[in-house]
Subunit: 312 residues, 2 copies
Amino acid sequence: MKYAIGIDIGGTITKIGLVSEDGKCINKTSFRTKELNKFSDYVIKLNKSIDKISLKNIDISGIGIGAPNASKNGTIETPANLNWKGKLNLVEKLKEYINSPIFLSNDANCAAVGEMMYGNAKSLNDFIVITLGTGLGSGIVSNGMLVEGHDGFAAELGHYSLKNMGRYTGLDVQGGLEAYVSATGIKRTIMYMLSKYMNDSIFRDISFNNLHGEDITKAAEKNDFIAIKAYEYTGKILGEALSNFVSFSQPEAIILTGGLVHSGKWILEPTKKSFENNLLPFYRGKVKILTSGLEDKDSAILGSAALVWKNI
Amino acid sequence: MKYAIGIDIGGTITKIGLVSEDGKCINKTSFRTKELNKFSDYVIKLNKSIDKISLKNIDISGIGIGAPNASKNGTIETPANLNWKGKLNLVEKLKEYINSPIFLSNDANCAAVGEMMYGNAKSLNDFIVITLGTGLGSGIVSNGMLVEGHDGFAAELGHYSLKNMGRYTGLDVQGGLEAYVSATGIKRTIMYMLSKYMNDSIFRDISFNNLHGEDITKAAEKNDFIAIKAYEYTGKILGEALSNFVSFSQPEAIILTGGLVHSGKWILEPTKKSFENNLLPFYRGKVKILTSGLEDKDSAILGSAALVWKNI
């Protein structure tokens, strides 16, 4: 059996795992990303964490890293959610400590590779993964290969622009998809629905900062008008956007993953309905909307480790 | 030197050429596609035309065909602009007469492969070709390979939907890009500008059916207000759409080709301006807008022939 290290660099938590080629995470650790003020200290901590989870008698085939704003050249560029600014030479710095091959890609690209190796895209050559977390990330696979683009910044579909929509994203882009479709997006939509309707709702007593995704699902299950409207609105926009993505790469499946998908039918039903309504005739019945096959299984670590098997 | 046959099946004309591997069309013929009422007769005519242009002592490596609505499986499916309906088994039928390998792809995909072999995409692994003819076609290359999708219907960006726009396409899709950006689209925009403004214009004396692309360029050069407004409007929409396409596949270049591009600066300047204005910060300065390197050089025949070199 071969083994790889999978690392997921998130704005809050950095996760490190030792993963076998058949997709089992057999040892893992994590630390708070923002603990380290200097990037060079972060790299040292990362190296120590890799040592900590490595096991005697187990050789590592390589290290796979998923991170926001990762380029094709081993760098992380001006990440909005990390402490450090500018162009961070992550792979180069880590190579000062480590001899194994190191691969870096966008975190949503890692999610796509993870689905291809271990999840619901095992037999697929053409698919798209949409991660619905704090923002909206995406990984696109065409001809069995990641669509990374000229220098690694392809598949930024959270910034895909809905020209008729007015919300601003974190990058100050007006009408960016993730301003509507993400954990943050649906919270904004709850606010919008509170502005639009006069109906009673549990959300009239909850502030924006105290509002969590699970609350919206619970409220919808109790038939809360505002919660149901928010899911319908979010699903309608997501379905329209996904139908446009199909005219780009004609995937066999679109796999949805991340916190917002935990609401199940509340988000999936309006999304599928809107998707089918907007799909062109010659695509109908050919594109499946699926959820991740990796939920609650160290998916981010598995996806990063899968980058190693895809590249060596 | 190796040789291939390149065939371009258009709604009006079918072109057949004998092409050398270095990109010279050394013999060619054509006939009117709608001459043949029965599809089986069309295939016979196609085979005779291939015989007609073939030369003694020259072996053919293969036959490449570009056609609208071509699938990955050698069929043309419910083509809007051809006489015959349903699923047409073009490759299978042609194989009854011909022994060489036969490759079929969407006509805009052939344009992309042609640019890669002989045009302005020679050194590029990630680019998009947009063909601005009667409709809007597109060919996408990622990782040096055509993005064809699950069964060949990827890259249908003419049907990419502008949700805030109201025009109907030939497929009755509201807001489809080609309803705005194509030879037909800009004619519709001339009508729209005549409805919107009261200014004098040469177009107040020309009917829709008598209006041709060259007239719009000539009028713009004479400072016709309606013509200039029409180019500005078309370029603005095209630039916005192209900037969205970048967040999908991050091409190194987008190559524009087809009749509408013959107007030169009139369409290119507003397109580039709108493109740069809408591009996300991390893409700026990284994506070139180019015109075809194959104009007036039997480009459709060359593109179809290039399909052979890409596949054998």
